[in-house]
Symmetry: C2
Subunit: 190 residues, 2 copies
């Protein structure tokens, strides 16, 4: 039923038929249209979302009322406001569909229960967290460390498909481009 | 032998005497003087460090030759360049002792082996990664979202002891203060 998720988990740990069944019973599937919000600031982030198809973005609105995108999730990526999800406190983030998107999601209590009943998921999520933490660490560094043009070229080469799927202003927010550089890209001067 | 680490793990998962023994046989302890480097850019980050006593900082040198501190670790925190540690590629970061520091450390192969022989550690490190990821996510947000003064006040109230232990210029690097604001703090105008 939730084949994409199970296939992804199986890349990191074997599962018995019974464990697969327990996972399937703990998650739900949802199809959302482009621009739908799965999370809005002020509300508790109740779910962790696994993208089956499509693209989600995680962002907050800074004090200058500018959207600051801190993470994207495409196929086989998880996305949530980890802080709100863990603490059950209201989030300061938004999660929005960049395209028509299909997600498999799990709620906090169901996930905590699954960690107990299917301990192999500790390994799966340990590796997932390790990767998302590394991605976050990389982004932080290259926001400080590279010019707009270097970031643009690196990202274009590393994720060519992704660059085609996401509006340029979102890429610019995620990569911290100046408006001047954004104009250069639009004018095809890069 | 490595009591602080075992006590910390026991907060998150029970361990048998045999599992404790296996962990003790896989880690090592090291005392380093203030300013000692545990990692330097250009070298592979071979260890993950658990601070028993003291304080470590993780930073890189940006293209303007400015030190950018992205993480601190005090007692009961882990610190490493996760990217270099996982990929075994040369790091772009430095890990340096801010005080005379005692660490328990584990190398990549030993840790991967421990995950197999003591699977309960998957839970422990899953929770550790979840927390470090959340801390990173929070810092990213408040670097964009708060004024220098708001960040200074928040950090002073949240971690009063820490503020006393670490040189102000390091706090300023971590919290992204402007030189102007740093001068205001030094002049006790905040």
């Amino acid at each position: 039923m939730y084949n994409n998720l199970i296939q992804h988990i199986l890349k990191f740990t074997p599962l018995t038929a019974d464990e697969i069944e327990q996972i399937n019973q703990s998650v739900s599937i949802q199809k959302v249209k482009k621009k739908t919000f799965l999370l809005e600031a002020g509300k508790v982030c109740k779910s962790n979302y696994f993208v089956v198809k499509g693209c989600l973005r995680l962002y907050f609105v800074d004090r200058k009322l500018t959207e600051q995108i801190t993470q994207f999730a495409i196929e086989n990526w998880w996305i949530t406001d980890q802080d709100s999800f863990d603490s059950r406190q209201p989030s300061q983030y938004y999660i929005q569909a960049v395209e028509d998107t299909e997600v498999i999601y799990i709620n906090k209590d169901a996930l905590e229960q699954l960690y107990i009943s299917v301990p192999k998921l500790e390994r799966y999520f340990r590796i997932i967290f390790q990767r998302v933490y590394t991605a976050w660490q990389r982004r932080t560094k290259f926001l400080y460390d590279q010019t707009d043009e270097e970031r643009y070229r690196f990202f274009s080469e590393a994720f060519p498909g992704f660059m085609q799927r996401v509006p340029l202003y979102m890429i610019a927010s995620y990569l911290g481009f100046t408006p001047q550089f954004l104009s250069k890209i639009r004018a095809k001067k890069v």
